[in-house]
């Protein structure tokens, strides 16, 4: 069985597209081959900056012949039916066979498709693949019409087996396939021919090309580490950069150089970011001092002077880059020393955050007010939280962050220290953005927590106030991430917070800010009264009073009345995010629903505690049976209530109990209810669920011994009231009717 080797040689392929392209080539060609009947044993795709390569092992030498039989019309069918059948099979009448069947004589067509040689199929499949290749962006060149990621120069396409190597005859837009390729652009530019995949990789390596991207990456990493290690240093890990650099070179040569002394005092993050973004250098750290002292660059060539010229050039470029960074750092630090971070934040008054939601400065003021009120609930000092919120985004106006947006927050932390602000405030500058993704660390410092929550709540309520919530895959302001951030901050810090008040306050202040500029004079006055109320009684208190208070009719009332619906809608959005989050932790979705049905569901920590307690009990045998018993009680009760049109919520009387099992249930319910109510005083949902689970035996015993729908109407009513007590008792942690089962 032959092996297939394909190489598409082009001008430099963008690094970020290579891995995907190698995979697409493998997938598209092998799918095409299989569809044409050519199965294979194995296939692998490779990419370098200049080539996409596919190796297929154990391909069939030809596709198998196919024999297909098709049943046609009866022999005595009208001529039209026969003609139709001939058209659909492509045969003539004399090719058909007439066969006797139980239904009479019927025409049969036997279609023989002969097998085709692999080379014919490969040629077709490869041409179709090249012509429809899914590059993220492709181009034309010269006078041709073919599209490729960059100009395509050569096609190598050979089938090989023990007998020898055969070039697959193929030509695409004037490029004829052959068995030849070239080596490294500078080190081995001559053409050579190849026999098969092994021969190809060996000759490529001799021609200074490492075919596999993983091998190039390993090589880079190992050389960088040993160069650093030899001088008692370590490489700062950066997998993204490693993958990118491996896509920029065919023959990686690692060179390590020193950073000029004048730049070593720059923050490590600045050095790292500047070197990575501009130069694609790895940072080399001194483990003793934590400072970045050297860099590693990866050249694509072995220079005659061992890379001395290359290294000198790179150092020079780096020095120019770092001079810029140093200039920004010094300017920013000078600005902070003379006007503080608040002074630095001044230009944010001119920067629009979102046209309906005002400027960055207005947003910061709102966050500061919220942070101040959240502070005591999360154990932070109100004044410190407010200060932190006021300065946390000041670095957005710094020169450094203008140049390197990814350093937002990090620079704020450094500049806060330059100003001499507390560690807590400095930390909040960086941490209030967190968590940025599902795996990012959640802030735990109280001041950071207060600012982080205020930041996210302001953002979410703002976009809710202007009806810009995420839809489908569209979430341009990353609101889902913000909500998940709030959820994780609350849960991981064990914060029991009633989010409703946050939402009401945020929505109200946004609504006022949006509507005030265009309000009529007297409405403006009314809105000002609300703002006054907020100034005197705090955001939360005033928001709740305003929304629940009597605001009458008209413009102001319309604004205020819109808040509760939006607040509820935002809470539902949080519940959806919470469900996604908890399902990720392996929580049953119906368990989450059961917990969310309970009052106070804006306190997400309580919701989660309820759900965890319920899930834990459901995993026991008692718990599972309790739910069966509960369901049975609930069903009987519901039917009776519907039939009788009454609610059986009078307390049952133990004196009407007939048998021991019934009396036992009374006793058990009594005990359970007192245990449960005691546990619920401290929100101990596990103990409460445990007490419920103990009812499983008595409930089972009751149903075994007693018929609820007794002939005796007094007994029946008493028992239905007893079932009601079961339902009431078991519904105190979560709504068990929401459970599936």
């Amino acid at each position: 069985m032959p092996d297939l080797l394909i190489e598409l040689l082009s001008e430099e392929i963008p690094a970020r597209m290579q891995t995907r392209a190698a995979d697409d080539l493998r997938r598209l060609v092998t799918e095409g081959l299989v569809e044409a009947g050519l199965t294979y044993a194995g296939a692998a795709g490779f990419a370098t900056p200049r080539r996409l390569t596919l190796a297929v092992e154990g391909l069939l030498a030809a596709s198998p012949a196919v024999r297909e039989e098709r049943k046609g019309p009866r022999a005595d069918a009208p001529e039209q039916a026969l003609q139709g059948f001939l058209r659909s099979t492509g045969l003539a009448k004399e090719d058909l066979e007439a066969r006797e069947t139980p239904k009479g004589e019927v025409w049969f067509a036997v279609i023989e498709k002969p097998g085709r040689p692999a080379s014919e199929i490969v040629a077709e499949v490869l041409e179709a693949t090249v012509r429809s290749f899914p590059w993220p962006k492709s181009m034309r060149w010269g006078s041709g019409g073919l599209r490729w990621v960059r100009p395509l120069h050569g096609i190598l396409c050979v089938l090989s087996d023990e007998a020898g190597t055969e070039v697959v005859p193929l030509e695409i837009d004037g490029i004829a396939a052959g068995d030849r390729t070239v080596g490294h652009r500078f080190l081995a530019p001559d053409e050579f021919s190849v026999l098969n995949f092994d021969d190809y990789t060996t000759k490529l390596k001799k021609s200074k090309v490492i075919l596999s991207a993983e091998e190039r990456a390993e090589h880079i990493w190992a050389d960088a580490e040993s160069a650093a290690f030899a001088q008692g240093l370590e490489v700062v890990e950066d997998r993204g950069l490693l993958a990118e650099v491996a896509g920029l070179v065919e023959w990686p040569v690692v060179l390590m150089g020193a950073i000029d002394d004048g730049f070593l005092e720059l923050p490590a993050e600045v050095l790292q970011t500047s070197m990575r973004e501009h130069q694609k250098f790895f940072s080399i750290r001194n483990p003793k001092t934590g400072r970045i002292e050297k860099f590693v660059t990866v050249a694509n060539t072995e220079a005659a002077d061992e890379g001395a010229t290359i290294l000198a050039g790179n150092r020079k470029v780096l020095a120019a880059r770092l001079s810029d960074a140093k200039f920004f750092w010094e300017n920013d630090a000078r600005a902070v020393r003379s006007h503080g971070l608040k002074g630095m934040a001044k230009p944010l008054e001119q920067v629009t955050f979102q046209h309906e939601l005002g400027t960055q400065a207005e947003r910061i003021a709102r966050i500061a007010a919220l942070a101040r009120e959240i502070a005591p609930m999360v154990g932070a000092d109100a004044g410190e939280a407010e200060l932190a919120a006021r300065v946390a985004k000041a670095d957005l106006a710094s020169e450094m962050v203008y140049e390197f947006p990814e350093l937002q927050g990090v620079m704020g932390r450094y500049y806060a220290k330059v100003e001499g602000l507390s560690d807590a405030v400095a930390a909040a500058c960086e941490e209030h953005y967190a968590p940025l993704g599902p795996s990012d660390t959640v802030p735990s410092q109280p001041v950071s927590v207060a600012v982080a929550l205020a930041d996210k709540v302001d953002m979410l309520t703002g976009f809710w106030a202007i009806d810009q919530k995420p839809t489908g895959s569209k979430d341009p302001f990353a609101l889902r991430r913000a909500a998940l951030g709030v959820i994780r901050i609350v849960l991981e810090n064990d914060l029991s917070l009633s989010l409703d008040q946050f939402f009401d306050a945020g929505l109200l202040s946004h609504k006022i800010a949006i509507n005030q500029p265009e309000a009529a004079a007297e409405d403006k006055e009314a809105l000002n009264d609300i703002l006054q109320d907020i100034a005197e009684h705090g955001v939360f208190g005033a928001a709740v009073r305003t929304i629940r208070g009597n605001v009458g009719e008209g413009f102001v009332a319309d604004i205020v009345k819109a808040v509760p619906d939006k607040s509820l809608d935002l809470l539902e959005f949080f519940h959806d995010r919470l469900k996604v989050h908890l399902r990720g932790e392996g929580m049953r979705h119906d368990v989450i629903d059961a917990a969310l049905e309970m009052p106070g569901s804006d306190d997400l920590l309580r919701v989660v505690h309820r759900a965890r307690a319920l899930q834990a009990v459901l995993e026991t045998e008692d718990g599972e049976n309790l739910v069966q018993g509960f369901r049975r009680a609930n069903n009987i009760l519901q039917q009776a209530e519907e039939a009788d049109g009454v609610e059986y919520s009078y307390g049952p009387e133990v004196k009407l109990a007939e048998v021991d099992a019934e009396r036992d249930l009374f006793k058990a319910l009594d005990q359970a209810r007192s245990k449960i109510s005691k546990a619920l005083e401290t929100d101990d949902f596990s103990v409460a669920m445990g007490a419920m689970a103990e009812l499983r035996g008595p409930i089972d015993g009751f149903f075994e011994a007693v018929q609820v729908n007794s002939e005796n109407e007094i007994l029946r009513r008493n028992r239905l009231n007893l079932l009601h007590l079961i339902r009431d008792t078991c519904g105190q942690v979560a709504d068990l009717t929401r459970l599936e089962g």
């Binding site: 001008e11 430099e12 963008p14 690094a15 970020r16 900056p49 962006k137 181009m139 034309r140 060149w141 010269g142 006078s143 990621v149 960059r150 100009p151 120069h153 500078f186 920029l248 070179v249 130069q279 250098f281 660059t297 050249a299 694509n300 060539t301 220079a303 005659a304 002077d305 890379g307 010229t309 290359i310 000198a312 050039g313 790179n314 020079k316 470029v317 780096l318 120019a320 001079s323 629009t352």
Partner: protein
Amino acid sequence: MDASQTPPNCFQDVILRLQAYWAAQGCAILQPYDMEVGAGTFHPATTLRALGPNHWAAAFVQPSRRPTDGRYGENPNRLQHYYQYQVIIKPSPPDFQDLYLGSLAAIGIDASMHDIRFVEDDWESPTLGAWGLGWEVWCDGMEVSQFTYFQQVGGHDCAPVAGELTYGLERLAMYVLGADHVMDMPFNDPASAIPLTYGDVFRQAEQEYSRWNFDQADTAMLFQHFEDAEAECGRILAAPADDPKTGRAIIMVQPAYDQCIKASHLFNLLDARGVISVTERQAYIGRVRALAKRCADAFLETEAGGKAA
């Protein structure tokens, strides 16, 4: 291939060698366009000639102005007025990369000693309604050229495709000559009777223009000139092609395109004066693009644009 064994010794030597090299490759060596432009791409020899079916090969130095980059002559490598070297060949030759590497060798960059890399960089000019794919070319970690295969100009597909090279001459020459500050770079042969540095030629001009660009340019006048240029561009293109005086059809594409270039530069000046807000910015860019688009449409109606005479 090596034009000379000795490396260049001054700024103009780098330019002269590029001129000689591309002349030897068959390019017409044009002179700079006599208008203020932000980049060599604005030269009609690039923008307009990239359109239509006619073949084309040209190379030229183009003085370029970026008012916001002015640093009063103090920054080692930022200037509000600098030079670009442009090569434009249509259709792009199959060995365009090798030709380019040959030009580096001609100015003393020997590929066996340096690390030359083609790093993805897609080019887009929102004001010209143009885009292409290609790379920035790195030499030892420094960007020395922009290498682009034009795909669209003025909203029209380029067929055949033009290949365009842009060298930032000061930066490239500084690297080749080992100069750390642009103003210290020798402009002519340092052994000349009257040796001149780049600073001798341009430092004072950088200071004067920086002041004017940032603080003194009369913005009301610039806004008015922008309106005038836009109006004139539209008027010229709307004029009937038939010229009553000569009795010929003469579409006035280049005069119109001059006004488009003018509008673009006026926008850059206004931007440097900080009088264009973020929201207005897009609108102004859109107005210039509309002019460029109309010029491109009109060029395709002319003989140089491939219309049969």
